[in-house]
């Protein structure tokens, strides 16, 4: 039998098996916590911090997706500090990237009263769309740097390591090694990265061409599998 740990989440006593995250424990008692970088098939990276919750007595907030429930902790999934952090993260995200096709972000913005144009004066991260292969396009204007594609391409799924993060700070960005076009990289076009991308930054090429108004012949011509020599 696994050991049980008890905690209080928003005033309710909860008992969960040791090793359960705060996110899972909260969901068990019907308290939903927003997530962006977290994906059930990937290792919790704790990067976006939208899932931050407050533990009484802790100096900082903690990421619910990456924090295991500790015995006798008192956890608040909503508080002044929690709500401010979520709101400001959403506001800053919308000022840096194009989140128009990220449904979660738009929904959370409603919940947390985020003013998505608050930091509109700030520098935006703009890139040319990368259309270098028949399978998917990369529109990094929409990328929020959640890191899921790099995880899926690497040790969480595919072990191919075609994708990586380059640069630092605000100018971090996802690319291939030495910025090679994907067909020249080690990419095997498994599509796992496209599957986990939450913002449509990575999009199947057929879908993208359709949205651009291409007709079927054009789409067929542009998405033909390259022949092996």
């Amino acid at each position: 039998m696994t050991e049980e740990v008890r905690c209080t989440i928003d005033g309710r006593m909860v008992s969960v098996p040791a090793g359960t995250t705060i996110l899972e424990a909260a969901r068990q008692v019907g308290r939903d916590i927003p997530t962006l970088c977290h994906h059930e098939a990937l290792t919790a990276s704790g990067m976006c911090r939208i899932c931050s919750v407050e533990i009484e007595g802790a100096r900082t907030l903690v990421p619910a997706c990456a924090t295991v429930v500790r015995e006798d902790t008192v956890i608040h999934t909503r508080s002044e500090r929690v709500d401010r952090s979520r709101k400001v993260i959403l506001e800053m995200l919308a000022s840096a990237s194009d989140v128009s096709e990220a449904p979660d972000i738009l929904a959370y913005a409603e919940t947390y009263n985020a003013d998505l144009s608050r930091f509109a004066d700030g520098e935006k991260r703009t890139y040319d769309i990368v259309d270098d292969n028949p399978f998917y396009i990369r529109d990094y204007n929409k990328c929020i740097l959640c890191g899921r594609c790099v995880q899926a391409c690497g040790t969480d799924m595919q072990f191919t390591f075609a994708l990586t993060t380059a640069g630092r700070g605000f100018h971090s960005h996802i690319t291939t090694f030495f910025d090679q076009p994907l067909p020249e990289s080690v990419c095997v076009f498994c599509g796992n990265c496209v599957g986990v991308c939450p913002t449509n930054a990575l999009q199947p090429k057929q879908e993208w061409l359709l949205e651009q108004g291409a007709n079927w012949d054009e789409i067929r011509a542009q998405t033909k599998k390259p022949r092996r020599h």
Binding site: S85, F170, H171
Partner: protein, 415 residues
């Protein structure tokens, strides 16, 4: 009486830092030799009794850390010396590394023996070429003379040190980013827990200490924790190095016990303010620190005394700004530093350091918008509460302290 001490710096500038014989002649390696006659637990006990507080900025008890790594049963264990010193205005580790490099080698060996490690890693800031050269020489000389290597003094204890050079990232001074850097990955902090004491370098139990923390160790081993505890205030004992820069006549590194006041440091040790000017503000703890006002100079420069007035000692950097300084310009520089150094891993800091610097740069140019104060406070508190590591958590510290200490922003109704 200014409580100056001459313990950490006793060899600096007095002996040739490249000479092992000179180090040995001035009492070098006596502490390691003595340590090897004691049980490892006894050494941990002395460090605990000394109440040695980590000097790297986080002010964590060295004894607790040593005891935790000692307890771990996984093998191998490692010791790491954090010599990445990159906090703006901080140059006290450099003083020790360049002036008494053998002391660091000796202290690392003692720490390894105490916690049960056989390999040490010294991570030196990339922009410290002289420190690197002297450390590399000290390690090679110690190895050649048998102070490092197999079965030291015919005991069971074996120990050697590898030196790594940083590549210029401030964040690589954060302990887990430092491990990632040594392991050959992007220099980004890991999530904690797990902590280095259980899962550190290469996933193994690791003792990581700052240069100055380690520099205290030989004297504690030689004279005992009780002796150390008598130096300065009981809660913050031992000698401390202060790096003073800015508008003082004699900037430099000063050693004293932590009952030293800011007033004494500025006026009696650093020679006061030149040109008949007055202090406008003092930034204590570097870019990640907090501002003090001229009427707060009687505070003692200890970890706990500063905390009681909402400030931090941090790395021990003291930057003095006279009344000719434009504080907005200082804040612009500080916020640009964090914008440049954020690793980008977590959203609050990746985005917040950028927006904070943009707004402060505009304000420094005299262009105020309604809502700026609220925006900076919101960004600052979000970074403080939700960032992964100390970089983001402290990136708004100087700015927010400047807001609470000085009236820098016009009231909203005056805009």
């Amino acid at each position: 009486m200014v409580p100056r001490t001459n313990i950490l710096g006793k060899r600096v500038g007095k002996i040739d830092p490249g000479s092992l014989p000179a180090y040995v002649a001035s009492g070098g390696f006596l502490a390691l030799r003595k340590a090897l006659t004691l049980q490892p637990e006894e050494i941990v006990h002395e460090i605990m009794a000394a109440h040695l507080i980590g000097r790297g900025g986080a002010a964590f008890s060295a004894g607790f850390k040593w005891a935790a790594v000692r307890r771990e049963t996984a093998r191998p264990k490692y010791v790491v010396c954090n010599a990445d010193e990159s906090e703006p205005g901080t140059f006290k580790d450099r003083y020790l590394l360049e002036g008494d490099p053998f002391r660091i080698v000796e202290a690392m060996a003692i720490s390894a023996y105490a916690v049960g490690a056989n390999r040490g890693f010294l991570y030196v800031r990339g922009e410290y070429p002289l420190a690197y050269k002297r450390l590399a020489h000290a390690v090679a000389e110690s190895r050649r003379a048998g102070y490092l290597g197999l079965n030291l003094w015919n005991t069971e204890f074996c120990f050697d040190i590898e030196i790594y050079r940083g590549a210029g990232a401030y964040v690589c001074g954060e302990e887990t980013a430092l491990f990632e850097s040594i392991e050959g990955r992007r220099g980004q902090p890991r999530l904690k827990p797990p902590f280095p004491t259980t899962n550190g370098l290469f996933g193994q139990p690791t003792l990581i200490n700052n240069v100055e923390t380690l520099a205290n160790v030989p004297d504690i081993v030689l004279n005992g924790g009780q002796w150390y505890r008598t130096l300065g205030p009981l809660t913050n004992p031992g000698p401390k190095l202060y790096a003073v820069s800015g508008h003082v006549r004699k900037p430099g590194v000063y050693e004293a016990t932590m009952d030293l006041t800011l007033q004494e440091l500025i006026y009696e040790l650093a020679g006061g303010i030149p040109g008949g000017r007055r202090v406008q503000a003092v930034l204590v703890g570097g870019a990640a620190g907090t501002f003090l006002r001229p009427d707060q100079l009687d505070v003692a420069l200890g970890f706990d005394t500063l905390r009681t007035i909402g400030a931090t000692l941090g790395s021990g950097a003291v930057m003095v700004l006279d009344d000719s300084v434009d504080l907005w310009n200082v804040l612009r520089r500080v916020t640009r530093f964090f914008q440049h150094e954020s690793c980008g891993k977590c959203f609050p800091c990746q985005l917040g350091t950028q927006r904070q610097a943009e707004i402060v740069t505009r304000l420094a140019a005299g262009n105020v918008h309604p809502g700026d104060g609220a925006a900076l406070t919101d960004i600052g508190l979000t970074m403080r509460d939700a960032s992964i590591c100390g970089l983001g958590q402290m990136a708004s510290s100087a700015l927010l302290s400047a807001f609470s200490q000085f009236s820098l922003l016009p009231r909203e109704d005056e805009l």
